[in-house]
Symmetry: C2
Subunit: 215 residues, 2 copies
Amino acid sequence: MTTIAIGLYDRFTSLDALGPYQVLSSIPGATTVLCAAEAGTVSDENDLLHLRVDHAFADVSEPDVVVIPGGFATRRLAEERHPIVQWVADVHPRTQWTTSVCTGALVLAAAGLLDGLPATTHWMAYDSLVGYGAHPTEQRVVRAGKIITAAGVSAGIDMALTLTAELVGSEIAQGIQLAIEYDPQPPFDSGSPSKADPAVLEMIRAFSEQADASA
Amino acid sequence: MTTIAIGLYDRFTSLDALGPYQVLSSIPGATTVLCAAEAGTVSDENDLLHLRVDHAFADVSEPDVVVIPGGFATRRLAEERHPIVQWVADVHPRTQWTTSVCTGALVLAAAGLLDGLPATTHWMAYDSLVGYGAHPTEQRVVRAGKIITAAGVSAGIDMALTLTAELVGSEIAQGIQLAIEYDPQPPFDSGSPSKADPAVLEMIRAFSEQADASA
């Protein structure tokens, strides 16, 4: 039985974790486990979504797959070596796949996993990766051996489908894509810095710098 | 202040609710509220995701926007007139927008909102809509006056961006799309029945019929 562990912490970005959760929890024969430093309530960065988490990191010591979501808190988590950093460092040697979404890559980086490797993260956070010796790569999903990093927030869905195909084959991955009707048709084409209108890009940069400063 | 209420119930499909949540909770000047028949824990259809919900439907009597996610339980909710059906019927006359994702459309239908109207739902559930007098429409997002229905699961993200543009304009909607880096690049093109491989389509039909039968 494959155990897929999604590592949470207060102020995670909900879709970073729950996009992959939707895909990965649909894999036949795999068990998805939400875990955090301690069992209890974990809240997202809006403090509006409160998850009851039943498993502490200490209870999930040999996951086959690890998924680390991002959030505005990750830079601080990385610097302060939050327990999630040590957990990732501890379990990584025995995982099949160690993965991140968005700035979850900073947790992998702080655990020493990305030194010298190509990796991606949210487009606003490339510089933070450089400080850990990683090579930021402008792709939606980046593989380096058994490490897979995904770009910002919604990229976790694409990453999870890629990961599913690795775990159980492309037919099941395609089946899950069909089951969640993932035939995306965004009403705008504004999902990356190279495509967004300059005024929109500037608005989000300014907003994110504020949010980062208060994180 | 715009209040956006996401109505939950046990066995909802997580991404149906939390895809829109990610988008809508980012709207400046709006408040997103998760609510259910009673305050307490609400679990998703995998019984793996447990949300603490602080607001009962009775506390959220005049939302400006309603979002109803789907799940395998919705046909039964509709038939048994679960409290969410009455809540939708009660609040709809005063909403700005009443919306659904996936088989959440069956809740709107059971509340009497879709009679004679075009609507969409998960591709497996078109027939169920017909029973309520709705006209199933094979589009990702369907508007009928102030009612917006979205197709299966992941379509809620597209719907929420459309809704955001209606509420606060397309520049903010594009900004949120950029912030969540929603530039989808699924590794397969299997997200709708017309695109999926026939064997994949058959696998998911068989699986869903089983899941439906046990719902």
